[in-house]
């Protein structure tokens, strides 16, 4: 067929122009395909990682979060521990600050795990029944997610004993001057004792000086004695010696000195009788098995935690004297209720002294359309409850995965639109310039008897063929990019923090879970079809633009241009 050969010749023999157009269209399409695939990969990763509730068979989670204002109590409806606000939170997290002397004799080594509810206050498990009785609720399950402080070290000496030595003290004091009255009394006393004080009024003329000052012989000694006796009490020289006894003092040290090291992890109590709905479910078991329904001394460990602490299926975990065997590794979804270690609920309640208490209720609505309604009902029934939907939980997740996902949502579309538009513009411009350069050729064809329609058909056909080839090229390139992303896929992380740091708690109540996700770019048929369609559209736009210009050419004008 002559027209097809003509078309092929135009593409093959105008190689540079064809290649430039193909590369332009192809890059545009490849960009669209690659971005769409990446976006899809991110969505998939996000769905797996950032849709935390679906993975645990749940539509909503109900928790009791401390409110910042103190006035409103938690007591209502039998839900909550009563009292109010941060005080409860502080009180329930205080156990870690208890008397360390209870851990053993000072100097002995101890290992102890403290379990704290963090910012998710506990409440009676019976609240779950209240929610289960709501119309649109199909099923509920309770869980206990605690912040664990693993402490290890030497029990500190809390009381210090100090022994003091016996000590002799010498005390000396200066005396005040005698008053006139004191003087008179003294005089009287001395007279009685036969000692005269003052100017001699008798025959003993030798004077006072003799007797008083130096004196001679016994007479002098007697005087001194009398003098001593006659001094007023306050004027006798104070000179004393005190000896204190040896003493033992005991003093409570605050803070005690110790070498205790603390590591924090999170621990979840799972209702093992409900393997498809709970803070962790069978769906998340990556190795080993789920907890047995009997609920023995078994534990599940998150893969990331297991890797960090070299734990595997069969490893033992000793928690305050109870040995748990790890029966499975799990990959829990990020968000609110994920933990590093999972125990049967009853066991954790015992360990943490939280008998019949839970701090999360998982709710499965009868149908997904009821979720909003259920959320409202729960909030009405339990005003203090914090009800979180999948989206609420996903919103708390951050990290490069979320950034990339947001980027792909915000920028990806814009970028692919820009790429597509740029590719189309390029194709259209090239088609126009090609028609411009082929004015004489098209004029000649008209002179040869080609009708308007035939010329337009030929030009449009060329552009369409370019579009098809560009589409194929672009799809190939896009798939290549996607395959490359799959092969060398960069790792993206997502992390979720639950609870907030209450400064006055002294302990951090923030639980953080991080998950690494390898980026994939799954190429779907739809994506390919869209990419191909875009190229075709680009070709058609370019073809129409070129053909319309060709159609306006008058044969005579076309021929005249070369003269």
């Amino acid at each position: 067929m002559f027209y097809l050969r003509y078309l092929r010749n135009e593409l093959v023999r105008r190689r540079t122009r064809t290649i430039v157009t193909l590369v332009g269209l192809g890059l545009g399409v490849a960009l669209v395909v690659a971005i769409a695939s990446l976006s899809k990969g991110l969505d998939r990763a996000q769905h797996r990682t950032l849709d935390p509730l679906a993975g645990i068979g749940t539509d909503l989670t109900v928790t009791l979060q401390p409110q910042q204002q103190q006035d409103q109590g938690f007591g209502g409806g039998g839900f909550g521990p009563g009292g109010g606000g941060n005080r409860d939170l502080i009180r329930s997290n205080l156990s870690v600050l208890t008397d360390l002397s209870k851990l053993g004799k000072p100097g002995t080594h101890f290992v102890h795990d403290f379990f704290l509810p963090g910012t998710q206050l506990t409440f009676p498990q019976s609240a779950a029944q209240q929610i289960a009785s709501l119309d649109s609720v199909q099923k509920t399950s309770t869980g206990l997610t605690l912040l664990a402080e693993h402490q290890e070290g030497v029990v500190p000496k809390i009381v210090a004993t100090l022994k003091t030595q016996a000590k002799t003290l010498t005390i000396q004091r200066n005396l005040p001057r005698p008053t006139a009255k004191d003087f008179a009394q003294m005089q009287a006393c001395l007279q009685k004792a036969g000692v005269t004080l003052g100017r001699p009024q008798t025959q003993q003329g030798q004077g006072f000086g003799n007797g008083f000052g130096g004196g001679t012989g016994q007479r002098n000694d007697a005087n001194r004695q009398a003098f001593q006796q006659c001094l007023p009490a306050s004027m006798r020289r104070f000179r004393t010696r005190v000896t204190t006894p040896s003493q033992t003092l005991k003093q409570v040290l605050n803070p005690p000195q110790t070498n205790i090291s603390t590591t924090a992890y999170t621990i979840g109590g799972v209702d093992q009788t409900s393997p498809n709905m709970g803070v962790v479910t069978t769906a998340q078991v990556t190795k080993g098995t789920f907890l047995s329904p009997a609920g023995g001394e078994e534990a599940l460990v998150a893969t990331s935690y297991a890797a960090k602490h070299s734990l595997k299926v069969g490893s033992k975990l000793n928690l305050n004297g109870t040995t748990f065997t790890i029966v499975g590794l799990v990959s829990p979804p990020l968000g609110g209720q994920s933990a590093d270690v999972y125990l049967p609920l009853r066991k954790l309640q015992t360990l943490a002294s939280e008998k019949n208490l839970a701090n999360v209720i998982l709710v499965h609505a009868k149908s997904s359309s009821d979720v909003a309604k259920v959320k409202q009902e729960i909030q009405q029934a339990l005003p203090q409850a914090q009800v979180a939907s999948s989206k609420d939980v996903a919103d708390t997740i951050s990290g490069s995965l979320v950034d990339a996902s947001n980027l792909s949502h915000d920028l990806g579309l814009a970028l692919s639109v820009v790429a597509a538009v740029a590719a189309f513009l390029l194709a259209a411009l090239l088609a126009l310039s090609s028609v411009g350069k082929r004015v004489r050729e098209l004029g000649t064809l008209k002179a040869l008897g080609w009708t308007q329609r035939m010329v337009v058909r030929q030009i449009a056909g060329e552009s369409l063929a370019t579009g098809i080839l560009g589409g194929i090229f672009g799809i190939g390139l896009g798939v290549l990019v996607a395959v490359a992303v799959d092969a060398f896929g960069p790792s993206l992380t997502a992390s979720s923090s639950t609870g907030s740091d209450f400064a006055n708690l002294g302990v951090s109540t923030v639980r953080t879970a991080t998950r690494s996700v390898s980026l994939t770019a799954p190429v779907g048929i739809t994506v390919l079809a869209i990419g191909f369609g875009l190229a075709l559209l680009g070709g058609l736009i370019a073809g129409t633009a070129g053909a319309l210009r060709a159609a306006r050419l008058r044969p005579a004008d076309a021929l005249r241009q070369v003269e």
């Binding site: 002559f2 003509y6 040869l448 008897g449 044969p555 005579a556 021929l559």
Partner: protein, 226 residues
């Protein structure tokens, strides 16, 4: 009956504020089978007249009757059909499609008219280019290109072959060969030939000469058959 009857044909072009009269009151008759030389210097209106005769352009005024029908009032599609089946063009620049081989260039005219590739090859053989059928125009000499153009023009057995300075880009020897080829083949195929040229010696060889100056016919000589 005359093949062409032109009466008071004028063609004006608007070039900025001035109106150029490319053709001015041309009245002309051409009989079937004639070999007509349109002679005149550049810009005398030869090409314009040729384009009106070949239904590539419409006159601004006057009537053009071809084979009894008025070309002025025909729709574009009818003119395209006439160009396809009744006219063959030969240009000064050869105007071959650069991406098509010699035979494909002939097919460019034959294919819309329903002709085959074999017929195109036959025509190339007639102009002596059987071996060059698969060459691109860029690989052919000027004379060879013009031969391809002649084969293309004659491929549909047109009533009229219109040639605009067909030797203008050729040396005089080749030009002579081309004119001879054109004249002989046209005679064989029974086509009327109208050649526009400014080459007086070439025009002198034509049985009928129409001389033009400034868009007007100044001479209209029919050689007396010897």
């Amino acid at each position: 009956m005359n093949l062409y009857e032109l009466k008071d044909v004028a063609r004006y072009f608007q070039r900025g504020p001035t109106t150029v009269r490319a053709l001015d009151d041309v009245t002309l008759e051409i009989e079937p089978g004639e070999f007509v030389a349109l002679e005149g210097p550049s810009g005398s209106g030869k090409t314009t007249l040729l384009q009106i005769l070949g239904a590539l352009d419409r006159p601004s005024a006057g009537t053009v009757t071809f084979d009894g029908s008025d070309l002025v009032t025909q729709p574009d599609s009818a003119l395209a059909e006439l160009r396809l089946r009744s006219f063959g063009f030969v240009f000064q620049q050869f105007n071959l499609i650069p991406t098509l081989t010699a035979v494909e260039n002939v097919e460019a005219k034959l294919a819309p008219a329903g002709g085959t590739r074999d017929r195109a090859l036959e025509l190339l053989a007639e102009v002596g280019l059987a071996e060059r059928a698969d060459h691109l125009p860029g690989h052919l000499s000027g004379g060879e290109q013009q031969r391809v153009a002649i084969a293309r023009a004659l491929s549909v057995e047109p009533r009229v072959v219109l040639a605009d300075e067909p030797t203008g880009n050729l040396d005089s020897a080749t030009g002579g060969e081309i004119i001879d080829l054109l004249a002989n083949l046209a005679a064989e195929h029974g086509s009327t030939v109208i050649v526009a040229t400014h080459d007086a010696s070439l025009a002198a060889r034509a049985p009928r000469r129409v001389a033009m100056r400034d868009g007007k016919l100044v001479d209209n000589v029919r050689a007396v058959p010897a």
